[in-house]
Symmetry: C2
Subunit: 217 residues, 2 copies
DNA sequence: CGGAAACTTGATCGAATTCAAATAAGGTGG
DNA sequence: CCACCTTATTTGAATTCGATCAAGTTTCCG
């Protein structure tokens, strides 16, 4: 939808910005990479993840249009996590140096940044609760509902249905599960008429029921 | 040590601050409470937690001297989580209104705030990885090491030993486990000579080994 | 000192993993 | 657009880590 350039409304100012386009399933940057840019996703979905020494992966968050890739990159060019495109993605980049200068001049930008940080932290807290204390079914239901809510605030949900480019592997890595178990749970959801997932789209068939599952143990 | 008033160095300015003291095992504020203050822990340990509808608890973080209780409270007086003292605690409070005014005038404060936010998010990310992909033993080892590191940066570690006021219940709630299992794991650590926990203190006897456990699956 | 909270230990259970193999869906080059 | 090859998904059986249930013991405060 439209060419959405960020929660921050940085586009309006005098700041230079560069746009890039990448295909699905590319690494936008790897963990440890150094960059001078601050990046915002304009179109498409991406996943931020860390890899464990044994090769397993933990996804930290999914980014949707409007999300900054890493607030950290405002102060530190070395990335903690890697970022992969799940769909074709367009993103725009701002120079960290310029942005920092801007921040010193105009504190409105700072207010916005702090708010974004806070929102990221609140989401992380929700995920911690989910991972720490919920069953596989509840975690997956909650992930779906969380994504619907975030996409909704950006006008990307129609009739309880939205783009859903996640593979079961992504859901597994995000919720600390195996693909095998994600498959079983999702088919249970299907059988019970909670959701319809097909062609990289999801439709919530029974919001009430899905919420009930998400709130259960 | 000393009477540490925060990562932010807010004390230096003209900002009014009030100090409060509470005993161990008190609720400093409950989830949903509304407050006009921004609070920083000066002495003692506290835990931030959310409660699930079935009564179980998930701890989001432990706060040690110097930590702000909630960055969110700069913008929103309603607290998402509750905060309990684990030891006797002294904390200081700043008026949100005044602080916001200060932030608009002096962007240095803003820089500091953004950095704190970022640090909180980075810690949350680590916890997510731990909960999502590690065994009980690895999670507990990692928690201990994380706390040692944070306390170390504030000069509160001596000879691999530091104050450790956590009950097994806290460790369980923080790492998504039961107290029964925490007990078993910690006794295993003891038996293997990794740590010595007694009288609300911990001593790391084999840092190497503990790190190995924390990095294992 | 007495009662409550915290910790320990054993037995049993269950949710999710692991291993293995079959089927389906998707992307690519010719 | 098809054939081929890779990547995803599904299904079953066996296993395991951590939960649950139940008692007993220890520690800590007030």
């Amino acid at each position: 939808m439209s060419s959405f350039c960020g929660v921050l409304n940085l586009g309006r100012g005098s700041l230079k910005q560069t746009h890039e386009v990448v295909r699905a399933r590319r690494t936008i940057h790897g963990a440890g990479d150094v960059t001078d840019d601050f990046v915002i996703i304009c179109e498409g979905w991406t996943a931020c993840s860390m890899r464990l020494s044994d090769g397993r992966r933990q996804i930290l968050s999914f980014l949707i249009p409007g999300d900054p890739v890493s607030i950290t990159s405002l102060f530190n060019g070395r990335q903690r996590f890697s970022v992969q495109s799940l769909t074709d993605v367009r993103y725009c980049m701002f120079s960290r140096k310029e942005l920092q200068k801007e921040m010193i001049d105009k504190s409105r930008v700072f207010q916005e940044l702090v708010k974004i940080c806070i929102a990221e932290k609140e989401q992380a807290d929700q995920i911690i609760v989910s991972l720490g204390r919920q069953s596989a079914a509840a975690r997956i239901a909650r992930l779906i509902l969380l994504l619907m809510e975030r996409l909704g605030t950006r006008g990307l949900v129609r009739d309880q249905s939205f783009e859903f480019p996640l593979r079961q592997q992504h859901i597994a890595d995000a919720m600390g599960l195996t693909t095998v178990h994600v498959s079983r749970v999702i088919n249970m959801f299907r059988k019970e008429g909670l959701v319809d997932i097909a062609q990289r789209r999801i439709r919530i068939l029974s919001l009430k029921e899905l919420q009930r599952v998400a709130d259960a143990k």
